[in-house]
């Protein structure tokens, strides 16, 4: 709100230009700029006439006009209708007050600045929302590798979340995670443990969300086919190169499929097989969350309270909406075509997480189909894995916590030195862990909830009927909202990241 006010003042101040004077002198009346606001006539005796309405009579060699006659001291001698003999004139002078060229440069930066502001203000539903973000070291420097409990948008929805720190390799026994609040949210972080699992060389540890499995023989698909064509290269590794698509024009719940073909499984004997999927959501869910809050407007608090009381409408509506939006279904071929054996779902558009789907015991697969909402997911990597056995992690709580508070909301608060930690926009904490020395797989197990801040723009958009549709008939709502999302979709990613409140 304050920045909007400042923006308004900038726009209002922009016309208050900076000026220069362009002065021209001439001994001849014929060459004087007749469009000038006033004419200054310097007399041979030092007097000066300043005429705003004037005309020259070349025949009579006189100039007449209305204005002031000033003496050599430049005080007014006479005022009104005046007449000047051309023979007594030394010089004619005109002045133009023009806008400084500096204003053009300021206009460019003001325009760009206003465009950035308007972009975010006009489209707050694609603005940054994050839940706690965790940055962990990697070979390429600190990487945003986890966003904690993204579903938990009220105390009643408090949950825990296990995120793989796939790109972090700790060998010296020391790990520091950076936890930040980068959005207009209040985060309540009750737990932020690291789960460490020692692993032999050539293996990885994967999480189903509830279980950890030691996995070997990670094999990327040798062929990937989707609506846009070949996607094999995009899914080859966890490297930030993602396969994604655009949402359906008419229904945000519309599905698409990706067909994967793996090399023949050369294992002898038993052992289970799994599919590892590294992915994150697109911004559709962010849009829907914010659109829902905007539609609820001033009644949003009542609906959240309904969630607290486990009211059926809010609960069922939320669950049904999540089901319609859908995760990534893993399908295997069967006699009837394709059968879904498991589904991967985790809310959050920021950090790529690695999920494990455990296939039915004894099943060997070469062909796998992924079924997912169009435009709903960004998939970085898929691999078929051989699962050895479940493993029990070593749970490690932070041994030291250091924090800084965001300046804007620091008043009356103190930095937390132990969990639970309540953060406001701009807060950042460093969490130190003692990790077992050696080759270990690391996960972050966070628990808590967060409160989304209502934006003033959302309150102005309150649409009770649309809100009711979103919760009571989400299938219809996803069709109704498709055009609105399609208008945002081309620029949503850019707007999302550019609207971040804070950055690490």
């Amino acid at each position: 709100m304050r920045t909007s006010a400042v923006l308004g003042v900038v726009l209002a101040a922009a016309p208050a230009c900076v000026h220069h004077i362009e002065r021209t002198v001439s001994p001849e009346i014929a060459t004087v700029d007749r469009k000038a606001a006033f004419l200054k006539i310097h007399m041979k005796n030092g007097d000066l006439y300043v005429l705003s309405e004037w005309r020259a009579d070349e025949q009579r060699r006189r100039i007449t006009g209305r204005g002031d006659q000033l003496g050599a001291d430049r005080l007014v001698v006479r005022r009104g209708e005046l007449e000047v003999e051309m023979a007594d004139v030394a010089l004619y002078e005109t002045n133009a007050i023009v806008t400084s060229p500096s204003i053009a440069a300021m206009a460019v930066i003001t325009g760009a600045s206003v465009a950035l502001s308007v972009m975010c203000i006009a489209s707050p539903k694609s603005c940054f929302g994050s839940c706690p973000t965790f940055y962990a070291p990697s070979d390429a420097g600190p990487v945003l590798q986890a966003e904690g409990f993204s579903d938990a948008i009220s105390p009643a929805l408090e949950t825990h979340d296990i995120d793989a720190l796939w790109r972090t390799h700790v060998r010296d026994g020391h790990l520091t995670l950076r936890m930040t609040n980068e959005a207009y949210e209040t985060h309540v972080v009750k737990r932020a443990d690291v789960l460490a699992v020692p692993r032999p060389p050539g293996t990885r540890v994967l999480s189903t969300g509830e279980e950890l499995w030691l996995a070997s023989r990670l094999v990327a698909p040798e062929r990937c086919a989707a609506a846009e064509g070949d996607c094999t290269a995009a899914l080859a590794a966890v490297d930030g190169r993602e396969r994604t698509s655009l949402a359906d024009d008419h229904d945000l719940a519309a599905r698409e499929t990706i067909d994967l073909e793996f090399p023949a499984d050369a294992r002898d004997g038993g052992g289970r097989t799994g599919v590892a999927i590294a992915a994150r959501q697109s911004l559709v869910t962010t849009f829907l969350l914010y659109q829902g809050l905007a539609d609820l407007g001033t009644t949003a608090v009542e609906w959240l309270a309904e969630l607290e009381r486990a009211g059926p409408a809010a609960w069922l509506g939320g669950r049904k909406l999540q089901h319609l939006l859908g995760g990534i279904e893993v399908q295997i071929p069967d006699a009837a075509g394709w059968r879904t054996v498991a589904e991967v779902y985790e809310t959050g558009p920021i950090a790529t997480d690695v999920h494990l789907v455990v296939l039915p015991d004894g099943l060997r697969v070469q062909r796998v189909r992924l079924r997912l909402p169009k435009g709903g997911w960004r998939i970085d990597h898929v691999a078929r894995v051989a699962l050895e056995h479940t493993v029990t992690p070593i749970r490690i709580a932070p041994r030291a916590i250091r924090g800084t508070l965001g300046a804007e909301f620091a008043a009356g608060r103190a930095v937390a030195t132990a969990l639970p930690i309540v953060t406001q926009p701009g807060d950042a904490y460093e969490l130190d862990y003692a990790i077992p020395v050696g080759e270990v797989e690391l996960f972050l197990d966070s628990r808590g909830y967060y409160l989304e801040w209502m934006r003033a723009q959302w309150l102005r958009e309150e649409r009770p009927l649309a809100a009711a549709t979103l919760l009571l008939d989400p299938a219809q709502a996803l069709r109704d909202l498709a055009p609105a999302w399609k208008r945002l979709e081309p620029s949503a990613e850019h707007q999302f990241w550019s609207s971040r409140y804070a950055h690490p």
């Binding site: 304050r2 920045t3 909007s4 400042v6 923006l7 900038v10 101040a13 922009a14 900076v18 000026h19 220069h20 004077i21 002065r23 006033f38 200054k40 310097h42 007399m43 041979k44 005796n45 030092g46 007097d47 300043v50 209305r66 006659q69 003496g71 050599a72 001291d73 430049r74 005080l75 001698v77 006479r78 005022r79 009104g80 209708e81 005046l82 007449e83 000047v84 003999e85 007594d88 030394a90 010089l91 002045n95 007050i97 400084s100 500096s102 440069a105 300021m106 930066i109 003001t110 760009a112 600045s113 950035l116 502001s117 975010c120 940054f128 990241w497 550019s498 609207s499 971040r500 950055h503």
Partner: protein, 234 residues
């Protein structure tokens, strides 16, 4: 440090040129009021004089100093090593104000604040520095005729004018027209050659409340070819 202070400090550090003209004339006044711009002149021997630029002719220039009292100085152009003229009071303060507001608006840019805020500060600083010099003319870089058009008398020193005529004259309230302009000047009390009402007929030509200076005035250091106040005419 507040952002505005930061911008001002940067502007100063980057070389904003402040105008020493004590009259603080607005652009509108500078365009219309008929007074000359403010000039600071460095002459041989490292003496420096400043005041309103009155006139420049092929051999001399005149300026009207005001400190500690009004004093018309005549300086031979040949003795001038450098001069700087401020034609009007520049408006870089408005740019700074706009820059401060722009910088304060950058929190609405989200992540791009890290780029937009420094951009506002840097651009504002540079433009304010440039703008502060927009009204400056420097001799010898700029020729005398370019400086001359910003003098009170761009045509050169009028013949027959006395020092005192340059200072505010006590005269009857300005009558309304119609009137006719000529060199006669017979219809007012302080016309050229007649002295002012405040100092009527002083033989040195000094007039006005403050009194114009002379060559022997202890305030003004000796300047080669500086004309005597008793003979200010070119």
């Amino acid at each position: 440090m507040p952002i505005r202070d930061l911008i001002v400090v940067l502007a100063v550090a980057s070389g904003c040129a402040s105008n020493p003209d004590p009259r603080r004339r607005s652009i509108e006044a500078a365009a219309r009021d008929g007074h000359g711009g403010w000039i600071a002149v460095q002459v041989r021997g490292d003496a420096q004089f400043s005041g309103e630029l009155i006139a420049i002719d092929p051999g001399r220039l005149w300026l009207l100093g005001v400190m500690p009292r009004a004093q018309l100085l005549t300086i031979a152009r040949a003795d001038v090593t450098s001069a700087r003229l401020w034609a009007w009071e520049t408006e870089e303060g408005r740019l700074v104000g706009l820059g401060v507001l722009g910088t304060l608006s950058t929190p609405s840019h989200g992540f791009f604040l890290v780029l937009s805020a420094p951009t506002w500060v840097i651009v504002t600083t540079l433009l304010a520095s440039i703008e502060s010099r927009a009204s400056i003319l420097d001799y010898p870089g700029d020729a005398w005729d370019k400086l001359a058009i910003w003098a009170r008398f761009p045509q050169g020193m009028p013949a027959g004018l006395r020092d005192g005529d340059l200072l505010p004259q006590r005269r009857a309230p300005a009558p309304a027209g119609p009137g006719q302009g000529s060199n006669a000047g017979a219809d007012r009390g302080s016309a050229a050659g007649q002295g002012s009402a405040a100092a009527p007929g002083r033989p040195t030509g000094a007039g006005g409340a403050a009194g114009a200076g002379s060559a022997t005035d202890p305030v003004g250091p000796p300047v080669p070819d500086r004309a005597s106040a008793a003979d200010p005419k070119p």
